[in-house]
Amino acid sequence: MEIFGISSQALFGQLLLGLINGSFYAVLSLGLAVIFGLLNIINFSHGALYMIGAFVAWLGLEYFGINYWAALILSPLVVGVLGIVIERLLLKHLYKLDHLYGLLLTFGLALIGEGVFRNLYGSSGQSYPVPEILQGGVDLGFMFMPLYRGWVVVAALSVCAITWYLIERTRLGATLRAATERPELVQALGINVPVLVTVTYGAGVALAAFAGVLAAPVVQVNPLMGSNLIIVVFAVVVIGGMGSILGSIVTGLGLGIVEGLTKVVYPEASAVVIFVIMVVVLLLRPAGLFGKQA
């Protein structure tokens, strides 16, 4: 069967791969959005923390025999704590300054993170095995779908859904949303906003680490794995509208699929399609697809 002269097999296959990539975009941009919402900081080190998340999983397996499933919980915890330390030690001092300083500081952190791991482990990448029960795959007719990739989509979507639920439907989330609107007043009502900020940052980077662990068996665990991805994710966040939770999830998945589609139709453009969409969106809707108009 063919659609527009493209075999449906290739089309569906690429769309599915796009969805898998989109899952990573979604989880990463979700973390960025959560952080941006409350701290007003574009967390440039998000990609590095994603990479560190993957490395923590790899190191755990290599040196302590910690398996994938444990790593899926442990690594976000470790990285979350790292995030908390970063926030308490460094970011805290920047809130009164122009928000650009947050961007610059986290950029510096990204360089440090990447550099340290590059020195310790080189940039050739370490391979992380697919966990036993997710090896193999299913034949979907149009393509052979490795189980693990299917799991990535399921896990990413679940985490997105949980995060969305936490923020939009719970008391904690309500507090968070209120603090995004008027931090001072929320504090005056007796809520410890500084701690909330710290925890939020920790949680946001834990999401990055989670994505990192998910990615570990898919790509080589490699110090540079986050640095190119993150720019795309920035574009996703800009397109979705900064700070919008639902926006970042939907846009992340959507753009992954669009990218997949481009690979079928005009592969040369697949690397840039997201940036092109970003420019178009900005010209038409400066606040992004889901952003509140300024």
Partner: protein
């Protein structure tokens, strides 16, 4: 509305005695010097109003108590604790509820989420049911976004929000602003009720007629300084002077 719905004040707050003492308070926004040495005390169970023209510094006084102004000097004691250098949330948790003049309803939260936002700081706050009995409108609209409420409803919400927490000192900034007379009347009843239950209230009002019968004392500010204090007893003889000062 049943009076028994409101439990009496917690035992930690013995009746009488001083609850809030402000000494030589100066406050600044950036480079403008707003308060020029305020001294005032509020006793337990008292209702004190802050009067003054627009821009006299009444809201600033309140915000200073909670540590919400850019910079302040002087000393603020609450229930025997020096709170001058405390973080705002810790001050609030000592039992101070704040209802800001711009109401501060969160648009991203539903009415009920707004209501549930402030944490319980002491026992003896009202329950959700009691609050809904007191303000039936809020019950009706509890699932709609906070800022979709009418101005009056938002004002009720802002008040109700701090009644849940068990705070014993309420800082109320222009709660009748822009409200229909019926609601104003209702708020008057609520305040009276709160008073009988041992709440201590610091009230900013433009609407002198609303404030006069409720208050134990009136404090008048002008250009960031206290220019007069009038007790309930002295009020009849001094009303004329107050009107003068308030620029009528």
């Amino acid at each position: 509305m049943s009076a028994t719905a409101i439990p009496s004040g917690a035992s930690a707050f013995k009746p009488g005695g001083e609850l809030l003492r402000i000494t030589d308070l100066h406050a600044f926004y950036g480079e403008s010097h707003i308060l020029h040495g305020i001294d005032l005390t509020v006793n337990k169970g008292e209702l004190v109003t802050l009067l003054g023209r627009n821009g006299a510094g009444r809201s600033t006084t309140m915000k200073s108590i909670l540590g919400l102004v850019g910079r302040r000097t002087g000393k603020i004691m609450f229930n025997g604790t020096d709170i001058t250098a405390m973080a705002p949330h810790r001050i609030a948790r000592l039992g101070i509820g704040f209802c800001p003049e711009e109401r501060g309803i969160f648009s991203g939260l539903t009415t009920e989420e707004n209501l549930m936002l402030p944490p319980q700081v002491a026992s003896g706050g009202m329950t959700l049911d009691e609050i809904y009995t007191l303000f039936p409108n809020l019950h009706e609209r509890r699932h709609s976004p906070g800022t979709r409420l009418s101005g009056g409803e938002q004002q009720m919400l802002a008040m109700a929000r701090i009644l849940r927490t068990g705070a014993k000192l309420l800082l109320l900034d222009e709660i009748t602003e822009g409200l229909a007379p019926v609601i104003v009347k209702k708020l008057g009843e609520v305040l009276r009720l709160l008073k009988t239950r041992g709440y201590t209230i610091l009230l900013i009002e433009q609407n002198f007629r609303f404030a006069a019968p409720l208050a134990d004392r009136h404090i008048v500010l002008e250009h960031g300084s206290i220019v007069a204090t009038v007790t309930k007893e002295a009020l009849p003889s001094q009303t004329e002077m107050l009107h003068q000062m308030l620029g009528v």
